[in-house]
């Protein structure tokens, strides 16, 4: 009974935050505390509902093959029928838990973080809408619903990244995020349209049957195109190379937003989409290869950039891109389980890291450069502890969460392709290094005199603690409770640990952390000298491989430049023809104006001349008639 009730009311999970958005937007926008209370209440309710749904999934007959589906018609035109509804399977349940939990914690944290911001009401409204959109995406029953909420997630990120709208940089970052992901959405939309046209439906459950049949009959060539187009969406949304440029800029938003974007919403939407449509991707070897290699490359590529960045949030942003690359890599090598497991653990430790970073930045009075911090260990012990746990988790040291999920990814990669495995392991080494660098530079060493930092307030502290606990236990829990029997594709996966792979990566991570300690704490080697030695590489990495500059150039040339040319054509060719025609008429009319010089007597003369002509003609005509009649007279 209870589980039925939960499942049939799963649609309330996104609706409650959406209601919070409306309520705050219309009524309590200007009232900070009430807005926060409403947002948090609604989030808690949907978290409870998500717990209920998860319980129902765990205890009931619902598996990946037999999800619970409930839908209602959204609109209908001819043969196109688009539904909205809720699809609940273990994957959905996991995502619901992660998203509701992280967004709830972020909202609680925001009460402290935004306490002195006059726009806090607006902030909570947007946060609620963000959560609602992501939850709507998670329970989508078809590609259309997914696309709808996909776009709404994009909108919310736009609104939240640009939250400090008086800052030009925030405004530009928001725009960049929206447009970059739009490019991905273009591909996704094309893919969805092709699916709709080919199969006449967008429903996941129906496509699950139709797509394999189609591939069996007509081969993979067409579906490969569809798959690649669909994958462009996740490239944009999940910040994969080459559309990753928006993600580092997205830190212009308030830090809780960064946490939400990077951990639970927005960026994982792309990974989730690939997971949700895995029945399409997994049947297409070419697409799988693209996903795996792109993921692997992005993981490595972003890690190399993160090595040299200075602002704390930017380092974390590149680490997110890198970790998303891991998830894609896992999907590409055929392990949905590993990818989703990493998605979950990453959500916890990345939210933790960002919220810690937010606490640090707030304590440092909006100073984001890690090299201007230092020695915060003593001043902010709780934050330091939480941050350490986060760093250890992301570095993949046992028994923290990242160890288990990263190990599974590396294991899956090793089973498919050795180069990918090596790439992944190398990335793990780099990850441990730059995260350790962040930790050591920020918290160790000597505090600069007059450093204003103090421990954070309770609203901000408790979410940190909860997330730290989750970062410790979620990996262990997932490993021992059998995450792979729960979220899988095809056959349930054994979650064993390959000790060679796990050992290698652990040792490498430890070496990396040790190296970072030697450089940044013990100062055995000067970081400056190292950077000088790798001159070109360092410059490339520090300037993010000049990709932003390259895109700006492209945009200037192909958008603004072409636009200007076309505008010139519009003004001078098309309008030129129009105005030329008008002028032609003018010229022609001047020829006739000699008849109309305004002189009354000229008019009369013309008139009289006309009369004479008419009379002459009629006389002539009468004469002709008379001659024809002959002698009648």
């Amino acid at each position: 009974m209870f589980s039925d009730f939960m499942l049939t009311h799963a649609w309330l999970i996104p609706l409650l935050p959406a209601l919070a958005f409306l309520w705050i937007g219309f009524f309590t926008r200007l009232h900070k505390k009430r807005s926060a209370a409403i947002a948090i209440t609604m989030s808690s309710l949907s978290f409870l509902l998500a717990c209920g749904v998860t319980w129902a999934v765990l205890s009931g007959p619902i598996t990946m093959e037999t999800p619970f589906v409930q839908k209602t018609l959204w609109f209908e035109i001819g043969s196109v029928r688009i539904f909205m509804g809720s699809l609940v399977d273990p994957l959905t349940a996991m995502m619901l838990m992660v998203v509701t939990m992280v967004s709830l914690l972020v909202q609680i944290y925001s009460v402290g973080y935004m306490a002195h911001d006059p726009g806090a009401g607006r902030f909570f409204a947007f946060l609620s809408l963000f959560a609602a959109s992501m939850l709507g995406l998670v329970i989508a029953v078809n590609f259309a619903q997914l696309y709808v909420f996909w776009e709404l997630v994009g909108l919310c990120s736009y609104l939240l990244i640009g939250f400090y709208y008086d800052k030009v940089s925030a405004r530009e970052a928001a725009k960049k995020a929206f447009i970059t992901t739009r490019i991905g959405d273009f591909g996704l939309l094309l893919g969805i349209l092709l699916l709709q046209i080919t199969f006449g439906t967008l429903d996941f459950q129906e496509l699950k049957v139709l797509v394999p049949a189609y591939i069996w009959i007509s081969g993979t060539s067409f579906m490969t195109i569809v798959g690649l187009l669909l994958f462009i969406g996740p490239i944009g949304k999940s910040g994969q190379f080459p559309l990753h440029v928006w993600l580092p800029d997205a830190m212009e938003g308030p830090t809780p937003v960064s946490a939400l974007i990077h951990a639970a919403t927005m960026v994982v939407a792309g990974v989730y989409l690939v997971g949700r449509a895995y029945f399409i991707f997994s049947a297409l070897p070419v697409v799988m290869n693209v996903i795996a290699w792109l993921g692997g490359f992005t993981a490595f590529f972003a890690a190399t950039i993160a090595l040299t960045q200075r602002p704390i949030k930017r380092i974390l942003a590149y680490s997110t891109i890198s970790q998303l690359g891991y998830m894609m890599l896992a999907l590409g090598v055929g392990s949905l389980t590993a990818s989703m497991f990493h998605l979950m653990t990453h959500a916890f430790f990345k939210a933790l890291l960002f919220l810690c970073a937010g606490a640090v930045i707030e304590a440092m009075q909006d100073e984001a450069d890690i090299f201007k911090m230092g020695g915060l260990r003593k001043k902010m012990p709780v934050t330091f502890a939480a941050m350490t746990i986060g760093v250890l988790a992301i570095s993949g040291l046992p028994p923290f969460a990242g160890f288990f999920s990263k190990d599974e990814i590396l294991g899956a990669a090793a089973a498919v392709s050795t180069p990918l495995y090596l790439l992944g392991t190398l990335t793990a080494f780099l990850t441990a290094f730059y995260m350790a660098r962040l930790l050591f530079v920020t918290f160790f060493g000597e505090a600069s005199p007059g450093c204003p930092a103090t421990e954070t307030n309770a609203f901000m502290r408790w979410p940190l603690i909860v997330l730290a606990v989750l970062s410790c236990v979620s990996g262990l829990w997932g490993h021992f409770a059998g995450f792979g029997e729960w979220v899988y594709f095809g056959a349930a996966e054994e979650t064993g640990i390959d000790w060679v792979i796990a050992g290698t990566s652990t040792v490498l991570s430890l070496v990396a952390i040790g190296l970072a300690y030697e450089i940044y704490v013990a100062k055995r080697w000067s970081a400056y000298e190292i950077s000088q030695r790798f001159g070109v590489l360092y410059t490339l990495s520090f300037n993010k491989y000049y990709i932003d500059e390259f895109y700006t150039l492209l945009r200037r040339t192909f958008c603004d430049g072409l636009g200007r040319i076309l505008y010139w054509i519009d003004l001078h060719v098309i309008d030129g023809i129009v105005n030329g025609l008008a002028r032609l008429v003018g010229v022609l009319s001047t020829i006739f104006t000699f008849l109309q010089n305004g002189q009354v007597q000229r008019y009369v003369a013309v008139f009289y001349g006309g009369v004479i002509v008419l009379v002459a003609y009629s006389l002539f005509y009468a004469y002709k008639v008379l001659t024809l009649l002959g002698g009648a007279f």
Binding site: T593, Q596, G598
Partner: protein, 114 residues
């Protein structure tokens, strides 16, 4: 050939051709004035002349028609009434034009020039 006496007889016996001749002369004078006069009042008067020439035609034809109906005469009356109205308007316009432009010379009144 007809004799001179006969010609004189025809010329002196007033008939339809006399009336037509008169009206043609009047019409020609009016037309000439219309083309050559510069004052707007004179132009109006010339138009009146032409109208009256037409009226004469109407009445003359009516008189020499074999049938007994008065439509020609009626038409002449009608035309006089219209002419009266036209003169009234014309003079009023002339007055306004003089008031606005301080001239009634039609050569200067060429604002309708295209």
């Amino acid at each position: 050939m007809i004799s001179f006496v006969e010609m004189m007889h025809l010329a002196l016996h007033v008939g339809l051709p006399h009336f037509l001749l008169l009206s043609a002369v009047l019409f020609a004078i009016g037309l000439f004035g219309l083309f050559t006069k510069k004052g707007i009042i004179a132009v109006l008067m010339c138009i009146e002349l032409m109208l009256n020439a037409v009226n004469i035609n109407f009445i003359a034809f009516n008189h020499y028609m074999p049938a007994t109906d008065l439509s020609g005469q009626l038409m002449a009356l009608f035309s006089i009434a219209v002419a009266a109205a036209e003169v009234a308007i014309g003079l009023a316009l002339a007055f306004r034009i003089y008031h606005d432009h301080h001239t009634v010379n039609v050569d200067d009144l060429n604002h309708l020039k295209g």
